[in-house]
């Protein structure tokens, strides 16, 4: 309906292969970015920034990470939280070991550490497929969260066994630690997430993306057109874990401000898997939708009764949330197994051919 594609034609392959070939889409994304980068920071209160947007973005990035592995390469992983943890702890070690270097550099750098770990646990993926692989990743999950508890070196031998995020500054402005402002942290998270999403979209539209999807759709055929399965899968593990690692680091440094091993437990992995599946396997935008639904929905569920003045026990709300989310997951899978991304696609298509139905 809002689309006016007549006269939008492509005279070069570069233009034809653009992320948003349609003008109206480019406008749309621009609007979204402005809202996220200007409106929200200006008018959003701390709760929105601190407890809604920042976590949402962090989860979105983690979901993208997992989506690259599960959605694009078809490798089911239940170790996401583990890899996130690696990122977080790596960042902690690095920034405490080299306080001089800016923490944001470390946040990103820590991704490499978890990438390495990811490759390590990805090795079995050559021989193992499907649920079997999922179990292999469970090994990673449990082993890693065990490490976070049992290897004191990781948390600098704190008696608490937890990691405390030290205050670090950028241009004199505190960006991490207790006296950093939510808005500052939000903006940093936003910046990182936007950039990394862009990079991810570059990857999946290019040669590697096609290699991943080829392996996902038909590994035998992929091998016969000259794709080395192990290389490809390991690369997927590396990139995926990198994203998860950065997400983990951001989670601790720019959201929680401190964490215990338990943050990165198996349930966290499941949560992110939900986000990916509900959002849509093999879709970046889906990762955002999924994160929004799974993370923000419970928040709303918690707030609404209170706002309506319905006297509900906090615990009760908690339980209800569980029930509703559970039901929603099943419901969504029934309505649209391909996730919110597909719904989005369909809706968009309808707008493009409006007023026609197809």
């Amino acid at each position: 309906m809002f689309y006016r594609e007549a006269g939008q034609f492509k005279t070069s392959y570069t233009a034809d292969m653009a992320v948003f070939p349609i003008l109206q889409d480019r406008i749309g994304i621009a609007v979204v970015l402005v809202i996220a980068a200007v409106i929200i920071p200006l008018f959003g209160n701390d709760f929105l920034l601190q407890a809604v947007m920042t976590p949402f973005l962090v989860f979105a990035l983690a979901s993208i990470g997992l989506n690259l592995l599960t959605g694009y390469t078809g490798l089911l992983s239940l170790g996401t939280a583990g890899f996130m943890g690696v990122g977080a702890y790596a960042c902690y070690k690095l920034t405490t070991a080299f306080p001089g270097v800016n923490v944001i550099i470390w946040i990103v750098a820590s991704g490499f550490v978890s990438a390495a770990v990811g490759v390590l646990f990805g090795l079995p993926s050559l021989r193992i497929k499907g649920f079997y692989l999922a179990v292999a990743t469970l090994a990673a999950q449990f082993f890693l969260s065990w490490c976070f508890i049992r290897v004191p070196w990781l948390f600098n031998y704190n008696v608490s066994g937890a990691i405390e995020v030290p205050t670090r500054t950028l241009f004199g402005v505190p960006v991490t630690g207790p006296n950093s402002l939510p808005v500052t942290r939000y903006l940093i998270v936003l910046a990182i997430v936007v950039v990394m999403t862009w990079l991810a979209s570059n990857l999946i539209r290019g040669r590697f993306g096609r290699m991943w999807m080829a392996v996902r759709d038909m590994d035998i055929a992929a091998e016969l057109i000259g794709i080395r399965l192990l290389h490809t899968k390991l690369l997927a593990f590396a990139v995926s874990s990198f994203y998860c690692g950065v997400a983990g680091a951001m989670m601790v440094f720019l959201w929680y401000g401190g964490a215990e091993a338990d943050v990165f437990n198996i349930n966290q992995s499941f949560t992110i898997l939900f986000m990916v599946i509900i959002g849509g396997l093999g879709s970046l935008i889906g990762s955002f939708f999924g994160a929004a639904l799974i993370y923000i929905l419970p928040i709303i569920l918690r707030i609404v009764p209170a706002e309506l003045g319905v006297p509900l026990h906090a615990a009760t709300v908690e339980h209800l949330t569980f029930i509703i989310v559970g039901a929603l997951i099943i419901g969504f899978l029934i309505i649209e197994p391909h996730g919110l991304a597909r719904l989005w696609q369909i809706g968009k298509q309808k707008l493009r051919v409006w007023p026609f139905p197809y």
């Binding site: 021989r127 049992r150 898997l273 908690e318 569980f322």
Partner: protein, 318 residues
Amino acid sequence: MDLLYKVFIDPFLQMGGAPDLLVQTLWDGLVSGILYSLIALGFVLIFKASGVFNFAQGIMVVFAALTLVGLYEHGVPAYLALAITVVVMLGLAFSVERLMLRPLVNQPDIILFMATFGLTYFLIGLGELVFGGDPKVMIASELGLPKGAIEVKMAGGFVSLQKIDIAATVIASVMVASLAVFFQKTRIGRALRAVADSHKAALSVGISLEQIWVIVWFAAGVVALATGIMWGARSEVSFALQIIALKALPVLILGGFTSIPGAIVGGLIIGIGEKIGEFYWGPLLGSGIESWLAYMIALVFLLFRPQGLFGEKIIERI
């Protein structure tokens, strides 16, 4: 050098040094192994008959146990509570089939797998909503399960066997045996086996897919209940169990997703393996390795036999 000694020599010396301890450890491993097997059994039942990887099996265990205890706490006599719980599990099986499986029929496995995740959440929420989140004590004695332990004198020492564990072993064995009979001898059982191969086959036996799903989910529910009671009696009824239930996965890896004997053998291997590992090697790594050892065992095992213990080699065709 010293490390090598610690890893490869010392533990075995210990075993030889204190055989009674070894036996004790083996026994403990055996018992927890049996419980793993029971959970795995639940997975297998459902996977075999409906190809669904039921992630919710673990929570079903908790849910069953919670219901049982919860009912009792509300003044329902133990055995009646038991009966009611069975009915509840039947109801669960029905609603799962109606509200979840039927609408999702013919969807890819991963989707059904995810759906059972949803079910897990739902049951957690429901369980906590109805019976509260705090751990409960299993009404073992009320159900006539033995208490206390018997000291057996052997291997130059004493091995203490918890009566409840013995009971667990017995009940588990009985349950497995009866399931085996059910699968081999009864018409439905054969149908269930058939459906694993092809749905048409099942229909030819004159049982609709829906019925079969209800049956297997109910069976899995009953197994879950039994598991819940055993486990609850040994420790307590809490949602932590759900995580422990994940141990069933490595068990399945070893045993294969469709083999009942596999589930049993796998369970024992895992159970004993991790106890031994924890007891003799754990200290080297700062203990607690139980939490992941099982998965590592499975992982290493997979690298050499991707198709599992009892699965046969897959020839890829194109």
